[in-house]
Amino acid sequence: MGAAATLELRNVTKFFGQFKAVEDVSFSLGSGSICGFLGPNGAGKTTTIRMILEILKPNSGTITVLGRRSALEVRHRLGYLPEEKGLYKKMKAWAIIAYFATLKGMTRKAAKRRAFELLERYGLKDFAEKPTDALSKGMGQKVQILASIAHDPELVILDEPFSGLDPVNQQVMEDLIRDLARRNRTVLFSTHVMEQAERLCQRILLIAKGRLIFDGSMAEAKRTVPRRVRLETEDDIAPLRGLAEVSAVRPAPRANGELDGPEQPGPRAVPARSTPPRANGQVDGPEQGSRRWELELRGDSDAQVILQTCFGRGIRLKSFNQSEPTLHEVFMRLVGPEAKEGAGHE
């Protein structure tokens, strides 16, 4: 990856006393990408971010930011939104944005102009002259986000940018991030909201207990979870068990809404029982004697094989549904057991 990388961590380890907060983390980001930094509470995300920004120093390993070994050397080209949001209570919204921009090397005049420009663009024009303790929590957070990008940084690190925002402003935030990437800025953001990560990220970093347990594209991430086919039939499905493409067969839970009924890829799909007949010609809804099954597919196997086998062996399907795994499932599968332990020092 070499010198072209916007951000590169190599074998970074950080201790707090005896506690190993981050252990041997290595990854590298190219420019113009949106990367999601995921992991359960206390996994070491914030510590890693603080090390990238040189707020904390790693015990071992190297961090290269924009080609430099010290983030402070390139601090003018970095933008940072910390996890816990706060502003100077008595300062005016524009003054805070301008102040942080001047700390990032902008002239006072340019910073002020930029502050008003950003506040207008993101719908806070009327609040520019208000002290920040007069703003709502969400508005205050928007001001802080604007403060972190006012100097048009090349690498933007956002720690939990979506928390505390209503759906409309979450959308504004998403647009903002996409806009940054479109202008070839690199965005690394941590989040607990999988849907957002799934919509935004080309790249996923998953960290748990201080270790990087996954680093790859969104597609690669999803491949870590076997694709599944769900079907409903009254007939015996024994022939399907023998297929080379099928790695596991189990009854699909009925009562559980999450797994019951047909699913579409993506979290927005809420299955509706009374939908009209689907493309596969099946009427949904369980009937007397019919059972639901869930089949896991091996690797890149084609789900068509199952369908063909069903037709060939006379298995009458009441429903057949092939779904992409969601990021949520990826997350649960990779870090689920550890997340439950919940021990946290971040």
Partner: protein, 526 residues
């Protein structure tokens, strides 16, 4: 450095907006102004003219009392006239036209003979004419001081021939101010009545008549000289009367024993002045004047100012640091500036806030003193002189800066490890306790400015600024002056370095503040 300056500028601009800053800025000048102006106003306006009735059917003592009161008034006139001349007339030069004798400036109102000369020459009118040619153009006309004690006539409804006892009864409603008497046709309140019995001679107490075995019966109160007044809190008239009566009685006693009246007067005008001298002063100028008193006590006022200034800016620094820490702005700041730059910026910004405040105080001090020094009080003039001629102000500036930086090191350490002001309170309680010492010793040190207490405290860096400020005009030994300054400087630098380490570690910490020992470990690491 540029970023430290940016941080400093924000600190300054934001703190200059706070209520505390403006309160601090104006409170001191206001207190100073009031403490100078109120006594003057009270002197001028609030003490009312005391109207009194003097009943002396035998006319045995009344002339003496009236003369004494008149003398007191003439003394006031002389003092006022001299003050008027000092303010409005060109000073007498020795070379120019022959010095008139006696000249107004040569008369000392405290000297009885000078006062008599003043009156004998024609008093106010004569001396006004004397200085008239020297008056500056546009000088205001001379205003006579008010007569504090004015005699009024017996109200017409009281029989002047009646006995003192019944007269006292009849005067009671007037003395209680239920009824008013008349002075120059204006009804006024009667403050006092002095009733002198015709046989007052018999009441004189003489040493030889007072034998322990059979002394004279104490005179019945209705035969004594009576001073009636409902107001017991203003004894001045009573004292004047008592002094006049006793002087008169003694004069008569001298005469009765065959002494010459002229001799008596000469004896009465005999006095010996006492001069205070200070061995530390230049030879020939050892006399201790009002300026020396001011010089001795003025540093205490500066110690107090120093204390208030340092304490005020410490509070600002603490609340600012904790604000940044508690709402985690600190993280954004630290992604833009180094902890060192942040600390420098904060120190600098708040220092300038403090200097602004202190500068405003000094300006107010000079302003108010110079405005008042021409006028009412000699003491203020002296204070102004001391302020201009001594090194108090530069010394104050030096000790303010060093003291502030040293205490700021503690405050930054405390602020960086506490998440709320509440958490900081236990640390601050200790700091406040430590800082109480100079306040408590402030008034003792001027009495013995180079004594053991002063010297020991001077060598404790925490107290160096306050104690050395306190000793500023007492010429402390050079070793104290330089030694403590070097020690203070070294301590300040050391404290700031340690604070820097604690700040760097503490500022990102959350949760319970660490123990003091742990903070020390951070400070001393590496």
């Amino acid at each position: 450095m540029k970023y430290a300056l940016l941080v400093a500028w924000r600190e300054y601009a934001e703190n200059a907006k706070t209520r505390g800053f403006w309160l601090g800025l104006f409170l001191f000048p206001l207190v100073l102004f009031l403490s100078v102006q109120v006594p003057i106003l009270l002197e001028q306006r609030a003490t009312p003219v005391r109207y009194f009735i003097l009943v002396d059917p035998s006319r045995g003592l009344a002339p003496a009392i009236e003369a004494t009161l008149e003398k007191t008034y003439q003394r006031q006139v002389l003092a006022a006239l001299k003050e008027y001349a000092r303010k409005n007339a060109a000073p007498l030069t020795n070379s120019a036209s022959p010095r008139p004798a006696p000249s107004l400036e040569d008369l000392n109102e405290a000297d009885a003979q000078a006062l008599e000369t003043f009156v004998a020459k024609g008093g106010e009118g004569f001396f006004l004419a004397q200085i008239e040619r020297r008056l500056r153009p546009g000088a205001p006309p001379f205003q006579e001081p008010r007569r504090l004690f004015q005699q009024v006539k017996l109200p017409p409804d009281i029989n002047p021939k009646a006995g003192l006892a019944s007269m006292a009864d009849e005067l009671k409603p007037y003395l209680r101010q239920d009824k008013l008497v008349e002075a120059d046709g204006v009804p006024v309140q009667l403050a006092a009545a002095i009733l002198i019995p015709p046989d007052f001679q018999n009441q004189v107490v003489r040493p030889q008549t007072r034998s322990p075995a059979a002394g004279p019966q104490p005179p019945a109160s209705n035969q004594q000289i009576q001073y009636w007044s409902a107001n017991a809190s203003d004894p001045r008239l009573r004292e004047e009367v008592e002094r006049a009566v006793n002087a008169e009685i003694r004069r008569r006693e001298y005469l009765a024993r065959g002494m010459d009246a002229a001799v008596i007067q000469q004896v009465e005008h005999t006095y010996i002045p006492l001069v205070s001298l200070n061995p530390k002063k230049e030879k020939g100028r050892e006399a201790v004047g009002a300026a020396d008193m001011v010089r001795q006590w003025a540093p205490s006022a500066f110690v107090y100012l120093l204390w208030v200034a340092i304490f005020t800016v410490m509070q600002m620094l603490l609340s600012n640091t904790i604000e940044e820490k508690s709402n985690r702005i600190i993280e954004v700041l630290l992604s833009s500036v180094t902890p060192g730059e942040l600390m420098m910026g904060k120190l600098l910004g708040i220092a300038v806030v403090g200097l602004t405040m202190v500068g405003a105080w000094m300006a107010a001090l000079f302003g108010i003193l110079s405005w008042k020094s021409g006028g009412a009080s000699e003491l203020i003039g002296q204070a102004f002189l001391v302020l201009r001629t001594s090194n108090l102000v530069p010394v104050f500036a030096v000790y303010f800066l060093l003291g502030y930086l040293m205490y700021a090191a503690f405050i930054l350490s405390i602020g960086s490890v506490c998440n709320t002001l509440k958490e900081a309170q236990s640390f601050m309680a200790v700091m406040t306790l430590l800082m109480m010492v100079p306040l408590m010793t402030m008034t003792f040190i001027p009495k013995d400015p180079n004594g053991p207490l002063a010297r020991v405290l001077s060598w404790i860096p925490l107290y160096t600024p306050f104690t050395m400020m306190n000793r500023a005009t007492a010429d402390p030994p050079l070793i104290d002056l330089v030694g403590t300054l070097v020690l203070l400087l070294a301590t300040t630098i050391g404290a700031l370095c340690m604070a820097g380490r604690i700040f760097r570690i503490g500022i990102l910490r959350t949760g319970q503040p660490p123990k003091v020992l742990e903070m020390l470990r951070w400070a001393l690491r590496r």
